[in-house]
Each structure stands twice: as structure tokens, then as C-alpha cells.
Amino acid sequence: MITVSNLTKRYGSVHALGPIDLEIPRGGVTALIGPNGAGKSTMLTIIGRLLSGDSGRVEVGDLDVVTSDSRELAKKLAILRQENHFVARLTVRQLVGLGRFPHSQGRMHPHDVDAVDMALEFLDLVHLQDRFLDELSGGQRQRAYVAMVLAQETDYVLLDEPLNNLDMRHAVAMMRQLRRAADELGRTIVVVVHDVNFAAAYADLVVAMVDGRIAHVGSPHEVITPHVLTEVFGTPVDVIQHREHPVAVYYQ
């Protein structure tokens, strides 16, 4: 379980976040939605200990993210931001292998190699494993980063807008793979998504944020409603039913 209690954050004089109290249960896919500047990424980054909050506590599993040993935490919690620019030249396999660092400290045991193979297979990257990252398309590269995070074998995986810059086909494939990671590997996946319909179709729990606060928490059927979305996004939203999922329509 991820427990956030009384968390606040300011950027200079700008009130960015909080106070926030939130519990994300173990297992399944949780989606964070909300308009730009609502604090979704900020909250995710603080949970992932890349940023420190001004007050409050964040616990992942039983570990406090601020005071716990970083290496122990890296075996429980992985976070992937949307921008990953680096000049190092690595193959897909080398990158995914670095995901094992918290366990191997660089010395790969057979068990680590297995985990890398599994992650590559899971994201359908086996045929690309010896390519250098700079030779891949944006979608393939994104998949390689996600494979690295999965190879880390953490209970909790936080992803900041993993669908950014992906076309329809790749976005759907990515969400399917995350769903499978939750169902088959038992990971707890927390994603920030911009498209509420992906949240509606794939998430177990949807958290809607507005102005640095939690506005609504619930199942897709409870949160993806005309009333809630119109209030959260400040624009008229209609919701229709497609198969068993609600679909938001907001184009006119």
C-alpha cells in the first residue's frame, strides 16, 4: 500500500500541492487524472522520492520514502519520468540490465539475467535487444525504459505519462502491457495519464486531482461520469457507454 498523509509542496510562493491524504491499495493499476498543473506529476515525483515535499509523510510498503535507505527502497519502488535524455550509448539489453542494479550492484548473476530476459520478452523487445537506443523509434525506446523499470522487480511501479508521444496503436499496447504486469506479475502500477479514456478502460482505481488536491477517488464507473469530469476539467464532458467501459466525449 502507498500511504500519503498530509503532504504539501510549494514552489517558491506558488502553492503546488496539498494537503493531500491518499491511500493507494496494493495490486492493480491506479490512474492519476486531472487538468494541467493539477499536481499529478508533482505528487508522483514526491512518492518516487525524486522531489521532497515540504511537510507530510509518504510510505511505500512499510518504508518511509524520505528516511529509508535508497538502495532498499529501489528494490520496492521504481519510478519512470517522461523525459529520459542521456548521451550514454547503450543497447536495449544493457539499459534493461541496469534495471537490475539495486539487486546486482553491477555484477549480474544468472537470476539477474533471467529477470532481464523476462522483461525483454514481456515488452516484446527480444528482437531489438542488441540495437542501440538511438537507433530506435520513440515508441520502442519508451518500451525499453518500461522494460528497465520492470526488470527492477519492484512491487510498486510509478510511471509519469508513459503514453506521451505514442500513437494509438502503441498507446494501447503500452496500457495492455502495464495491465498484464499488474495481473500476471502482481505489480502495483501507478500511472499519470492525460487521456481519461485510457484510465477508464484499464485502471482499477482512478484518482482525479484539481489544484493540488484530490477531488475524487473511485472505480472508473464512479469517477468517469459527466458530473465529475465536467467539474474536474472545467469543460463540458459527456460520458457514453462502450462495451463495459465508460468513454468520455469532450470534443464539442
Binding site: 529501489a74 528494490k75 519512470l80
Partner: protein, 340 residues
């Protein structure tokens, strides 16, 4: 269509494994080249009869040059590769942090306050140690100060380094204006890096520092791989990013200060060595790039020294030529690749 992409993929895989498998033979080949160049420097064209006392004296003095070259190559090659990893770029070199300028200002201040005689009179291990300590202390202060603030950015650090470097440079220029022409002449000779000015007493100490720093960096080679992925990924992988960057930058400062104290500033040597290393190795794991940088640095510098000294009889010019070639390569690289 699918078939074409499959074939392209297969070709890419074969290419990758070829590049990665070629690492060991290439490392050995380049090291052999370095050894041959070192032997050539030691024994080629010795005027004294073989086996006589003069022969060995000359060989011994050449040994000092070879040792100096090895230390300089190690410092700049390893220092620049590590610097590139932690600063996440492949263009800047450690000299951007103002090391060259600091060296110049120390030398100039010595002549300015104590006269040209003081420069020669104070030469010795003590001065080298003081110089190195000053440079490392400067770097540690700068990093420590910048990393303790709330807005910690590597770019701010680099920018401050550049500005400090400019400040030091104008301070040196100001003092140089006030020197007598003869003092200025002696000082100028000092400010051009020169492998021949190195002294035998410094070498064991320089070598010892290199070995110690080399061992520490080698043990951290996997951590460096992770740090090179950037702050956020490194933290997610459980690496204390700030601490590792601080350690790495301080070690780089130690290496560069050793080299600068021995032979004076060399701005582009590290850049050229690192660029060649990346081209030869192909991938970026430090278990490959670190040893290759040492081999490439040593063979480049040894061969250049041999050619300039024994073929063109222009040993004093070696740094000038390295800087010229290095600067040209740097410009071409910038124009081709852009600021990435």
C-alpha cells in the same frame, strides 16, 4: 515489409555484437601500439654507443618523458570520460571548470609578487603538491557550495566554472600587463604546457595518485553507468546521485590538477582521447571506456611525442600541436553534431 525490418534488425544485432566483441582485440592492439611507441622513444636514435654509461643516462632521461606522458594521458583520458558521464554530455572537458585559468593565475601571481627568480627557486615537489591541493580545494569548495544549495543544477555549476575561469584569466592578464618584459618572457614559457619541464621527483607521486584514483573509479564503474543515465533514473535505481557526482567530480579534479601541475594546461587532449575512445568502443559501459581511454590516451600521446621529437626534432611544440589538432577536431565535431 515485416521481412525487411526483420532483416534490418538482424543486421543491427550482428553489427552490435561485432562492435562489442571487437573490444578486447582493439584494447590489446592499441596497448601494443603504446608499448611500441614507448620503446621507440626510449631507444631510437640514442647517440651514445649501446651499453655505455651515457647510453643509459640518456635512456633514463627519456624514461622520465615516457612516465610523464603516461600520467598525463591517464589523467586526461580517465578524467574526461568520467566528467562526461556525470555531466551527461560529450563536449565539455574538465578545463571548463576553470582549472587551466587557476593554474595560470597561480603561476602569474608567483612571478608578480616574488619575481621570475622565485619561479625557478621554488620548483620542487612541495610546489607541485601545493598547486594540486589548491586546485582540488577550489573544485571541492565550488562543488560543495553549489551542491548544498536548494537549486542544485549541474548547468549552474558549469556556468559558475566558466565565469570563474574568465575571472581568473582576466586577473592573470592584468598582472601580466604589469610585469617587466623579461619576467613576462619567463612566465610565458611556463604557461605553455610542456612535457619536457616535468621533473623525475614528481613522477612516483603522480603515478601513485593515478593508481589510487584509478582503483577507486574502477570499483565504481557500474555506479558510473547508472549515474550517466541522469539524476532521476539514478535515484530510482537506488544510487545516491548527489554523493556520487560529488565524489566523481572531486576525483576528476584530483586527476586534472596532477596533470596540470606536471606539464601545464592541456585543454583539448581529454576531448580528443574521449572522442576516439567512444568511437572505438561503440557502447558506453565504463568497464570498457575507462581502460580504452587509458590505452588510447597513452598511444596517442606517445606516438605524437615520438614523431615530433625524433622525426621533426620539435619536442617543445608537442602541446601546441596537440591543442591545434584537438581544437580542430573539437570545432569539426561541434559543427557536425551541433550542441547536444
Amino acid at each position: 515489409m515485416a521481412d525487411v525490418s526483420m532483416r534490418a534488425t538482424a543486421r543491427a544485432s550482428a553489427e552490435t555484437s561485432r562492435v562489442l566483441a571487437a573490444f578486447r582485440p582493439r584494447l590489446i592492439g592499441i596497448s601494443v601500439l603504446a608499448v611500441l611507441a614507448a620503446l621507440a622513444i626510449l631507444f631510437y636514435g640514442n647517440p651514445a654507443p649501446v651499453g655505455s654509461r651515457g647510453y643509459w643516462i640518456i635512456a633514463e632521461s627519456r624514461m622520465v618523458s615516457v612516465g610523464t606522458i603516461l600520467i598525463v594521458a591517464f589523467c586526461h583520458g580517465v578524467g574526461t570520460v568520467v566528467f562526461h558521464a556525470v555531466t551527461n554530455n560529450r563536449i565539455l572537458t574538465p578545463s571548463i571548470l576553470g582549472f587551466d585559468a587557476l593554474y595560470r593565475v597561480i603561476q602569474t601571481a608567483l612571478v608578480f609578487f616574488f619575481g621570475a627568480g622565485a619561479v625557478a627557486a621554488t620548483d620542487g615537489l612541495f610546489k607541485v603538491v601545493v598547486q594540486s591541493v589548491l586546485m582540488v580545494a577550489f573544485a571541492a569548495l565550488l562543488y560543495g557550495w553549489l551542491f548544498s544549495g536548494t537549486h542544485t543544477s549541474l548547468h549552474v555549476l558549469l556556468l559558475v566554472g566558466v565565469v570563474m575561469g574568465m575571472g581568473f584569466a582576466s586577473l592573470s592578464t592584468f598582472m601580466q600587463r604589469l610585469l617587466t618584459p623579461s619576467d613576462f618572457d619567463i612566465l610565458t614559457a611556463r604557461l605553455f604546457g610542456n612535457i619536457s619541464v616535468s621533473n623525475v621527483t614528481y613522477l612516483p607521486w603522480g603515478g601513485l595518485v593515478c593508481v589510487v584514483v584509478g582503483v577507486v573509479l574502477w570499483r565504481r564503474r557500474h555506479v558510473l553507468d547508472v549515474v550517466a543515465l541522469g539524476r532521476e533514473t539514478a535515484i530510482s535505481l537506488g544510487v545516491g546521485y548527489r554523493r556520487e557526482v560529488l565524489i566523481a567530480l572531486t576525483l576528476v579534479a584530483v586527476l586534472i590538477s596532477v596533470s596540470t601541475s606536471l606539464v601545464g594546461p592541456m585543454t583539448f587532449l581529454g576531448f580528443v582521447v574521449a572522442l576516439l575512445t567512444y568511437q572505438i568502443v561503440g557502447s558506453s559501459e565504463h568497464s570498457r571506456t575507462l581502460p580504452m581511454a587509458v590505452a588510447v590516451g597513452a598511444s596517442t600521446l606517445l606516438i605524437a611525442y615520438f614523431i615530433l621529437r625524433h622525426v621533426f626534432y620539435a619536442a617543445g611544440l608537442i602541446n601546441v600541436i596537440i591543442e591545434l589538432v584537438g581544437g580542430l577536431v573539437f570545432l569539426v565535431y561541434l559543427l557536425r553534431k551541433g550542441l547536444r
